[in-house]
Symmetry: C3
Subunit: 359 residues, 3 copies
Amino acid sequence: MSRFEVIAEMRKKLTLAELAKVAGGTVRGPATLPIGGVNTVIDAREDEITWVRGDEFRKKLETSRAGAVVVSPSFGATPMPAVLCEDPELGFLRILERFAPPIPRPPVGIDPAARVAENVTLGGAVAIGPHVVIGERAEIGDRTVLHAGVFVGPDTTVGADCELWAGVVVRERCRLGNRVIIHPNAVIGADGFGYHFTEGRHQKIPQIGSVRIEDDVEIGANSCIDRAKFGVTVIGQGTKIDNLVQVAHNVQIGTHCVLAGQVGLSGSVRLGRYVVLGGQAGVADHIGLGDGVRVAATSLVMRSFPAGKTIGGSPAKEHRDWLREEVQLRRLPEWVAALKDLTRRIERLERAADNQQTS
Amino acid sequence: MSRFEVIAEMRKKLTLAELAKVAGGTVRGPATLPIGGVNTVIDAREDEITWVRGDEFRKKLETSRAGAVVVSPSFGATPMPAVLCEDPELGFLRILERFAPPIPRPPVGIDPAARVAENVTLGGAVAIGPHVVIGERAEIGDRTVLHAGVFVGPDTTVGADCELWAGVVVRERCRLGNRVIIHPNAVIGADGFGYHFTEGRHQKIPQIGSVRIEDDVEIGANSCIDRAKFGVTVIGQGTKIDNLVQVAHNVQIGTHCVLAGQVGLSGSVRLGRYVVLGGQAGVADHIGLGDGVRVAATSLVMRSFPAGKTIGGSPAKEHRDWLREEVQLRRLPEWVAALKDLTRRIERLERAADNQQTS
Amino acid sequence: MSRFEVIAEMRKKLTLAELAKVAGGTVRGPATLPIGGVNTVIDAREDEITWVRGDEFRKKLETSRAGAVVVSPSFGATPMPAVLCEDPELGFLRILERFAPPIPRPPVGIDPAARVAENVTLGGAVAIGPHVVIGERAEIGDRTVLHAGVFVGPDTTVGADCELWAGVVVRERCRLGNRVIIHPNAVIGADGFGYHFTEGRHQKIPQIGSVRIEDDVEIGANSCIDRAKFGVTVIGQGTKIDNLVQVAHNVQIGTHCVLAGQVGLSGSVRLGRYVVLGGQAGVADHIGLGDGVRVAATSLVMRSFPAGKTIGGSPAKEHRDWLREEVQLRRLPEWVAALKDLTRRIERLERAADNQQTS
């Protein structure tokens, strides 16, 4: 397919009625209106559809050139034809998927420039790109894609429908579930950072454990998940990890957590389910965070918190304490002024008292 | 060329007069003095040239063994021969370039162990190293160098005179300008980190946009520039990005910005021109920073700032407010002492008043 | 060897007496008790050995299913047989090593899919994996292992008994000592981040120096050690660096330092011996830290500190000042209340004084 054809395919238009069906919504306006793509309220062109939620973008919608918009039925009138959905974000997401260009992958089969050990077990319809290396006794599940240059170590198993992007390294004896996505140059199963200090030197503690990554996990580019000292480092089902994140040895992450970019978890940290960490947040070793704990960006968590808490700051404290501290810090100049004023008034009172005594 | 010859070439000497010409300056001392390299004031040997600016290193120059020094004409006497330049740093930089050993690159042509799709468009004098992979319909401009193991995805275009170091991954449909340098294992165009939370799970939002990197951009080792959800993540002309930096989806960086090591920009951040971020600084999603804003290292920027501001702290505030807060924090013990003193004085006054009433 | 055999080998059992010998300790209980592995107090099974130190885990030991435990002779009675060691951690470490499964490596020799320049010098028993690239005049020492896809640039020397994991990039003219371990996708010798701002543009300063990594250094996955502008970036003997760490150009790290995950050292930072930096800590450019300085996690060090100091905070200060500041911050609400109380009392005194004057 030529470059031109690919772009033509990407710009193949659908009618507004077809998009409403994709989005699970209803049409308001001309059902046959042709739409060729998606875009933001600001950037959308006449043949593109956009979406807005609530009032924030109502004004921008007035001046938008978008050909159509996805809104909730309660949004009211729109300057252009609309697709009405109860959850406009989800509806728009489905339209987005419909317009998504196909993700380029190596063809099914083993590239002649890949190195696959003889006793590897491959599922059906596996796609293995050039310069991939798969070690002894590894297993790769059905329909899994290994892009160029991926390294899968001996005795590692990768489930079905996984996608490991170019340059990903998964060392020996790790276990990946189904539908796991790992972005380029991420490293799974490198040695944990452990030493015994003796005779003036840091003596390496062998890191003989492994890593288990459960179903539906996604791990960002250049992130690192270290293998356990012994036992297993675990990333729970459905957890999503952004780029450049550090997960140290023996960490246990529950299901459906979210770790934003550059987060760092020290050794043996335990996260419950649905824990959310903002960008660059850090957690000290052996700390536990209960289900649903939310950590503000760049916080440093130095003690454990029970389920449901929202925390922030360095060291992290409960959100309302942290906010109060912030407010008090901002009001510090006021209080310093008040203190100076009090000092002057006391001096005046003291002088008066002295005068009285001496009079 | 043998190892010996390479080092001999690197140490080929130039006369002071030749160096003055290279630096755009004038000689003070013996024009024929042979100089074989550059070094710091402290480490320079007799056959090396160094540079100093202002008074900071005047004392160290007294004891330096350097054979020559680059200074401004207004610097005054020097203990060794000198090259006088109005901008001594720039003059020294030009001498440094003259002594720089050649950067080793794969030879012009396609390495037999590279995998280049048949319909790729290659410019003249392109150098493609071993284990490089170039996908369908990609374009590589004149004189561009792809070191070993680089991955360029389908429909991506790389301009002229670019250098992509070993292990760099650029995914499909990205666009790199001319003279772009990308350091080893950096990742361009990985999926943005976007999910729709529904039915207790984080559902992946397809990231169908791309990345545009303009002319003269440099991106550090292991840094990540994510592709847009839709539309384009943009790195403006002349912007320089250090190692381990995270640039999330839909970020727009203006021209000539500087991002130091480990900086993190969240989704849809917009930077103007000439914005400078210190190491490990973070910017929350959708924040805008105007032209020339300077952000102190490790700051967390949680609101937008107009052009020209210098900001710092977590959350970041204007520099003078941040400094004042720092000073007040440091003076807190003083104020606590003052408060205690006032308390004692009030107690005394109260006792006196009581005595008076009862007397 | 089949998967089954490997696991059988890993689970081969040793008697408690054999383990005591390995650990340099003595047996308390049945000398012939078979033990097949190591684990934590909580997770250990009946055929596994664990260890405890001090009282922290005494209670958990009561309910542990572990077949045996390593403790110090002074620990007292244990619910299961024991190996008694003066340093139980070290004893356990030796048992751990005994049970460690062999690390999978490419076989000795040069993989046919590797690209080794003709004039490279290889030591004895070197193991070079598939898709490795070694540039002109490089030297690789005895028994060194280069895993799949490693890149070693021209004129770089790697010592004996080193291990470079998959995807590691070491650029030209760097020098690695003996027993150096570098984890996957780390980058050694990329250009330092240096520009000269002139005519509205950042002009690249050539980075013509190199990197020297001394004996027994370990560098984590996706970490970056930049080459010097000129001269050498140095990582001293026995220093251990965790994942995602940034070491900028011209940094000088002494011997036996420890840098935890995501630490960032700016240009020309100098660390003495035995310096320890907690996770995500940052050090500003040209700062020096003396022997044995310890920096708390996420601190930002903005001035130099002499040997022996423990520091923390942003900006970092001595630990006791930082703690005091933290305490005072936490007590701020109290002082604000005290200030308000004083204000009321002064108002009362002032009213009394007024009454007296007018009476």
